[in-house]
Symmetry: C2
Subunit: 190 residues, 2 copies
């Protein structure tokens, strides 16, 4: 049920929560209880600017963790509001930290997970820096971002799905890509 590396945690280290859309998971300034793993649904992490404007810091979706840094700081730095009803796991801070100190393998795995995420996000940021839709789509494809359907893919790379479809067919016409099926493409090997 829990993804690695959290699967080694004892049952007392976490609990499953079922929350409805609109409910508040935590608020900015609350003492941090732990980090969260989302099974289904979605959560928005919000901060508030001094002018009163709401700023979306992050939108967490299924199978993602969030509020990781709360392990190492004492209070949450943003609000977490349920966007859709969700089932999620609260990984309690103290047991996780205890595991971190007593189990070097867990510590390594956790750190490795974060380090890998850092690199993944850097890749996505570099991807979004590519201005041309065609080039961006090609790069994203070559980097393996296309896992589900095209619309999801389009959102992930910051393009409208129409622009993505057009870029895809251009790339096929130009011979850079091969269409292998409905919504399936692969990079042409020279």
């Amino acid at each position: 049920m829990l993804p690695a590396p959290f699967d080694v945690l004892p049952e007392t280290a976490y609990r499953v929560l079922n929350l409805d859309a609109g409910e508040t998971l935590f608020r900015q300034g609350d003492p941090s209880r732990g980090i969260f793993y989302l099974i289904t649904g979605s959560v928005r992490l919000l901060r508030f600017a001094r002018g009163g404007e709401t700023i979306v810091v992050h939108r967490a979706g299924p199978l993602e963790t969030f509020a990781e840094a709360s392990l190492f700081v004492d209070v949450y730095h943003c609000d977490a509001i349920l966007e859709q009803a969700a089932q999620l796991v609260e990984l309690r801070r103290d047991p996780v930290l205890r595991q971190f100190h007593s189990d070097p393998l867990f510590a390594m795995a956790l750190t490795s997970r974060f380090a890998t995420q850092v690199q993944t996000y850097r890749r996505r940021l570099e991807l979004l820096a590519v201005r041309s839709a065609q080039e961006r789509v090609f790069t994203a494809l070559a980097e393996g971002f296309l896992t589900g359907d095209i619309k999801t893919f389009a959102t992930e790379i910051g393009l409208s799905h129409e622009a993505t479809y057009r870029a895809l067919s251009h790339l096929v016409r130009r011979g850079h890509l091969i269409k292998t099926g409905r919504g399936k493409y692969c990079v042409k090997t020279t």
Copy 2:
């Protein structure tokens, strides 16, 4: 000289390198020697698509670390080429891992650093999802992304510096921002 948490490492754990533009730091498939901290200059991390195209995975600048995940995997997964001549620190893998295992505070600090970076990158990704230049600039400002000059700021938030300047003056005119000096702005408190 080294930033936290690396400042606790013994002198034998790292060495300083001076490299010229165009030199190769490591190649994809090379056994991983460690992670790097860039003092000055810049490094491009590259992967190669099957069609032979070069893909920029990341561009590291001064005071950044990169190749963090190499601590936990055996080989590098991309090439590192010097974009500009650079002075950098190679943090050797084995001593760092040894410190990680023997020094819980170091382990925590390292993990905390990665977790914080994850959140920073998520914020930037969410920021880049904002289409309107004005809204993006405002959000970025409210989130404290403006630290250095405007051109750097513009690059970080994925806009041309001209568009950024225009958005800034619009926001000032509309009363959302206050110009506090040449290239200095702050969010208006209501």
